[in-house]
Amino acid sequence: MSEHRVVVIGGGLAGLASAMKLAELGVKVDLISLTPVKRSHSVCAQGGINSVNDSTRQLGDDEWKHLDDTVYGGDFLNHQPPVKEMAYWAPKVIDLMDRLGVTFNRTGEGFLDHRRFGGTLYKRTAFAGATTGQQLLYALDEQVRRWESEGMIKKYEFWDFLNPIVDETGRCRGAVAQDMVSMEIRAFPADAVVVATGGCGLVYGRSTMSVFCTGSAASRCFQSGAKYANGECIQVHPTAIPGSDKLRLMSESARGEGGRVWVPRKAQDPRPPMEIPENERYYFLEERYPAYGNLVPRDIATREIFDICVNDGLSVDPDKMCVYLDLTHIPRAELDRKLGGILEIYEKFQGVDPRDEPMRIFPAVHYSMGGLWADYVKSAEGGLESGAPENHMTNIEGLYAIGECDYHYHGANRLGANSLLSCIFTGLFTGPSILNYANNQKSGSNDVAPEVLSAAVAKEQKRHDDLLTGNPGSDENPYLIHQELGNLMTRVATVVRRNDQLADAIEKVKELHERAMKVNLSDSGSWTNQNVIFAKALQDMFPLAKTILQGALLRDECRGAHYKPDFEKPSLTAEDPAERRRQAEVWCDEFEANNERFLKSTIAGWNHDTQMPDITYEDVDTSLIPPRPRLYGLVGAEEIEEVWNERARAKAEG
């Protein structure tokens, strides 16, 4: 076997897991990242990572239920075979991270401690203080450093991935990237390329994500012919701290550890929160969702908080929309031990101690469920076929997508603490698939035609040079265009979506896109020029922004995080049991008809002529768990469920 070389783009959890697994399999890896990999966005994850564990098992939990919670939480837009594989791998992933030295919190007896996260009834979430993502990332970073010192991995940090190199047969033969210090552009030939570049929160201007999360890498693959799926599925986290540069996350673990969300019953009650007596507080999540209380799934919590502020006018602060997230009833020592890190963030950035005073929070863009389309092979057991070269391969042969920038696992809404899992899982699981792909090829990284490489570099060099010198008369400023884009996207494509606004926004984004292509840079230098790097990232945000908007416009339904009030299914209104039953039947008919039409992945392909995505639909594999209505908080839920269960039984028998 000749030596294999794979380029991994991105050194978050997914990219690092991929790099180290490939190195273990004897594959040489070039690891390319915008930032030193140890600083990747994954460090921001606070809450934890899910898996079935010995204690939940004894309460009746198993991998199948983890699968079920995940697809139910995702409103069935998840592909079930990969989710199943992930759920069954989860305990193994946690064991491995434990062996790698992650300082997970411990029980008194020395076992891993767990907490409960949204969308499940079990305490599945392992955590390391309030910096779980940081701890997991460091463990992988350390392993990669170990392989680096053995010569198996070479890191290219402060390098910007510009494009995959695709040969005349349509196969990916490497990547073009740019050194952000010297501005050198060069080709990295490879047997295969893995894109693990995370989410695209910066399309919304401010979000809970790091500044690296521009989506530029995914967009460049998209513009090179890779398909992009479920772009419109963007998760808005219910609890963030509003800020002028970033919307800092307040982890769901604050609610997992007993945090309560409330507003004063009296609108804009001027009293300080601690002086408002219990009976004058409206714990709206607990009242509206007695079973899950403050731990309803994210999309629901987000909508309720949005609704209480926007429609009920009960925002705590008259000038700024926010509600209270209250931890003050929990002993300080316990808060410090379990939530220390995140409470410090609040204290540090707001100057208020959340142990003494309830925090003020509001929803913020948080996660991209959608991403690059990628294939998989289903196994006989309904999971994934281990080692199949197609697993996580995009429609460009030899180009793989894993981590937050793939699209399979989280459907229309991601459950908390499932993403760290999907990132590490996809990184580890795809190692053998990529190796097998490389083994099956007759040619590899060593024999890419030199003209293919030089043409790919020349194209990027031209784009770069044109940007530096191209638009002398223009006064378009990339930073200001970014602000405009962010404000627009936040207004129309987050919590509540309306068709007239979306259609209008598409026209505006088209205009902004044209303006972004004509930016004039205030720095035309050839050394560490962040201006030009940002301008490219900005330009590449537009194909994704358009895909998000177009996908949202066409999806005339409510599913998970995608909420269109004009297409919301009504509650049951009748009092009379027979009539109510009839309404439930109609409800279920409509639900089925709607699934027929919209239980599909939105698949976008970039059209260079129209500068818009072409959208088609693809079936979702729901072969393991039949879709059922998500009825959190709906009036008439019981009757609907009854009808639904009868139908499901009839189907199963018939």
Partner: protein, 285 residues
């Protein structure tokens, strides 16, 4: 490049003045530049730098290239945005402007870190910081990434003493403040290849002080049930050239660590362990 402070603006803050120490590239001469921005509440130094980038004009109306700097998470967990603000090394994302103005209403002074080569403006090359983690083999040498069941049971006490050490975000504040950590800047020779330059640079880094962050990581991994296997190698590294003997116990490091990592405790433990290690090696000779 700079202008005098306008006396009328001294008491009532309508504008924030930011003085930035700029440098166009390695080996270039640094210079100061003054920027002026309208005051807004609840800003931090990152939002200020973003505003400067958007405006790209100095206080006297001159068009300039935006200031170059590094940032990532904007919530003080990635370590990227470290710089020297009003003389103190710290993260710029958590440097709140209102606080800075309380201390010094006249201006905010931004400078690059002092112990690393400047790449441009406020951006420095911290490769040496990461390289030190290789010197002390800061990892757990597991057999492989196959499923081998769970790791060892660990007491809550052990977790509680290791967790703080594992929060080190390689920001470099500690080494910036350490009087024993001297700046090493290696310039590329004419016609030197990438590989040759890299090799020469790393050799120089290896001869320099590893730094308190790396000593603390060595302790973290020596505490790990499997990581312990490499204890000898780590102590070799710490007792060799550029090792722990360089530390003069000035305790500056621990005072500036944003994660409040007990660096001097780690240094003391490492000191004892290396002493024992050296004596043991002596007897085994």
């Amino acid at each position: 490049m700079t202008t005098a402070i306008e006396p009328t603006k001294k008491h009532r803050i309508d504008f924030i003045k930011i003085r930035v120490r700029r440098q166009d590239g390695p080996g270039k001469k640094p210079y100061w530049e003054l920027h002026k921005l309208p005051y807004e509440p609840e800003l931090n130094v990152i939002s200020i730098l973003q505003m400067i980038a958007a405006q790209a004009t100095t206080s006297d109306g001159k068009k300039v290239a935006p200031v170059t700097w590094d940032c990532g998470c904007l919530e003080e967990v990635c370590g990227a945005c470290t710089m020297v603000i009003n003389g103190k090394v710290r993260q710029s994302c958590s440097a709140l402007v209102d606080r800075l103005l309380e201390d010094n209403p006249d201006e905010i002074v931004l400078e690059p870190m002092r112990k690393f080569p400047v790449l441009r403006d406020l951006m420095v090359d911290r490769q040496r910081l990461f390289h030190a983690l290789k010197r002390v083999e800061a990892w757990v040498p597991v057999d492989g990434y196959y499923d081998m069941g769970p790791g060892d049971k660990q007491s809550r006490e052990a977790q509680e003493s290791n967790y703080p050490l594992s929060q080190c975000m390689s920001c470099g504040c500690c080494v910036d403040a350490c009087p024993q950590y001297l700046k090493i800047e290696v310039a590329r020779l004419d016609g030197e290849s990438d590989e040759a330059f890299e090799k020469r640079k790393l050799a120089e880094y290896e001869a320099g002080f590893v730094g308190p962050h790396a000593i603390s990581q060595a302790i973290l991994f020596n505490n790990n049930p499997t990581g312990k296997v490499l204890e000898g190698e780590r102590l070799d590294a710490l007792s060799g050239e550029g090792g722990i003997q360089i530390c003069g116990n000035a305790q500056n490091c621990v005072a500036v660590c944003p994660k409040e990592i007990p660096l001097t405790t780690s240094i003391a433990r490492a000191g004892r362990a290396t002493t024992l290690h050296v004596i043991k090696q002596w007897f085994e000779k």
